[in-house]
């Protein structure tokens, strides 16, 4: 309970801090627009050469694109800024400031930063998703919508675990500046349904990096392709990965000896 209160406080503080820089909103808006146009151009290009891609029609892939942008927004608002700060703090020895506080260290390092203007991507993703859905003939029932919400939440948890895993590696490999590029690169695989990838890569983006659960599974929920087993499996996997990451965080922390902060 206390953890929730602390998170909420950090969230409010972060938002207030960001609200000072209003021009950043327009920069975010502009960048979101560019990203969106690029995504649409790529889709148009692909579908100018084919009718469907591995069984997915253009409006369906529009939904996948929308969910990928939306998830990207969630990641850049709250997950990524915390993880990059964690990596920097390990590098500079400033993690001591977080560790000496009486709260749970994993929770603290996960809530310290908020980039509220990146929320623009969440809305832009929702708009794309809406347009995509309106062009699909099959309607979305309440159970589909519920499955979508659950799948999206589980996807976010899985991405968080994966990011924390990478960031924890910083305890051994101190130079992790490229972690963001690594993650962004791999996250782009989410723009396409995992089914199109060759088997070795499909396993990679499903289990090594849980992009498939973060984007394809929610998209499957909305396009009536999802079965309950997959959703249940996502739930079990999220739980297992969370436990594993928590153990790994503790393990990494024991290696951290601090520096002259």
């Amino acid at each position: 309970m206390n953890a929730l209160r602390v998170s909420w406080l950090f969230f409010k503080l972060g938002v207030l801090n960001e609200l000072q820089y209003r021009v950043n909103f327009f920069v975010s808006l502009f960048q979101a627009a560019i990203a969106l146009v690029t995504g649409l151009v790529v889709l148009a290009l692909v579908y100018s050469h084919t009718e469907e891609l591995n069984g997915w029609s253009q409006p369906e892939l529009l939904c996948v694109l929308g969910i990928q942008i939306l998830m990207g927004g969630i990641i850049r608002t709250s997950i990524q800024p915390n993880m990059t700060r964690l990596i920097e703090d390990v590098h500079d020895g400033k993690l001591d400031y977080a560790l000496t506080k009486p709260e749970d260290s994993q929770m603290l390092v996960s809530v310290r930063e908020v980039r509220i203007w990146q929320v623009v991507d969440v809305f832009s993703g929702l708009v794309v998703l809406g347009v995509g859905l309106s062009r699909i003939s099959t309607s979305v029932g309440p159970d589909d919508a519920a499955a979508f919400a659950v799948a999206l939440l589980l996807g976010a948890v899985l991405i968080y675990c994966f990011w924390l895993f990478i960031a924890t590696v910083a305890f051994w490999v101190v130079n992790m500046w490229h972690a963001v590029e690594l993650f962004d690169g791999v996250f782009q695989t989410g723009r396409w349904p995992v089914g199109i990838y060759p088997p070795w890569l499909r396993v990679g983006v499903t289990f090594l990096v849980p992009i498939a659960f973060a984007v394809t599974v929610p998209a499957e929920a909305l396009t009536s392709r999802l079965d309950w087993e997959t959703l249940l499996f996502a739930f079990v996997f999220a739980f297992a990965l969370f436990a594993a990451t928590r153990w790994f965080w503790g393990f990494g922390l024991r290696r951290y000896s601090g520096a002259s902060a």
Binding site: V23, V27, T38, L45, H49, V173, V186, Q188, P198, W200
Partner: protein
């Protein structure tokens, strides 16, 4: 009143030699520095390889669905194109425009300005040295990708030679235009939006997204008059495509032309920018 110390003018020959010396030393420093950060460099490469692999998979899927080829381009061609892509992309990483913001904000520029030669020379030399490390690290990656995707690649000797030059041409073209674009940072602290726009144009018009023949005709027409494809599509095609010797030479000359145009733009922009500059910190 300040005293201007008497400096003996350096003779032309000596100047040239010391310039070469500067380049070699800076490049060597970069090689030894970057080899220390092998792991970090590899992390970066792995993240980067995801992009061409995605394009490759998408276009291979389409080619397979349509009985083996899209617009006459086969799966084997796509594999070759996007594997060579990874090297050309690596050559394309230069002292980018956004770094100028950092250089100005942190006051690094003050130190650079005290040196007797333009910061441009250091950037070219340093990143050129880094490229050597990148190429060495790239080789195992290329072999692995070749096993996974089965590229159709059979260049002749002239093509290999032209490719070896063209990747450095690509490096210089992109360096010039990124440095010139970086001059915007002297006027605004929000260059990021413009750099993003530039990157997007580059993505679409350079051949980074797809081989240019897959683009609509009017896009190909536009890109003919822009520098982008000479830093991307052309170097890849020297190795993967079937250019004649004359076309190879003409392409390399076009690269040279774009390097000079980029350099000219940079010099003009630099002259105005440096007048605008006032130091912060250092």
């Amino acid at each position: 009143m300040s005293v201007v110390p008497e400096v003996a003018p350096v003779r032309e020959a000596g100047r040239f030699r010391s310039m070469v010396d500067l380049y070699v030393t800076t490049a060597r420093t970069a090689v030894s520095q970057q080899f220390q950060y092998r792991t970090a460099n590899y992390f970066y490469m792995f993240g980067m390889v995801a992009e061409p692999v995605i394009y490759l998979v998408v276009w291979t899927t389409i080619a397979d669905q349509q009985g083996g080829s899209v617009n006459g381009l086969t799966a084997g061609y796509f594999a070759a194109y996007y594997i060579v892509w990874t090297l050309v992309r690596n050559m394309n990483i230069v002292f980018g425009a956004p770094f100028w913001e950092h250089r100005i904000r942190e006051g690094d520029l003050n130190r650079d300005l005290l040196r007797p030669v333009l910061p441009l020379h250091y950037d070219i030399a340093y990143f050129a040295g880094w490229k050597v490390v990148v190429i060495v690290l790239w080789i195992p990656l290329a072999i692995a990708l070749s096993f996974l995707f089965d590229p159709a690649l059979s260049p002749n000797a002239q093509q290999v030679a032209a490719f070896a030059i063209a990747i450095w041409g690509a490096y210089l073209i992109r360096t010039m235009f990124q440095e010139a674009l970086g001059m915007l940072c002297f006027w605004t602290t929000r260059g990021a939006a413009i750099f993003d726009l530039w990157m997007t144009l580059e993505l679409l018009l350079s051949g980074r997204l797809v081989p240019l023949p897959l683009m609509p005709d009017w896009v190909q027409e536009i890109s003919r008059f822009l520098p982008f494809q000479w830093a991307f599509y052309f170097p890849i095609e020297t190795l993967v495509g079937d250019y004649s010797n004359a076309e190879l030479v003409r392409g390399l000359l076009a690269q040279l032309l774009w390097i000079l145009i980029g350099l000219a733009i940079f010099r003009v922009a630099w002259r105005f920018a440096i007048r605008k500059y006032s130091a912060v910190g250092g």
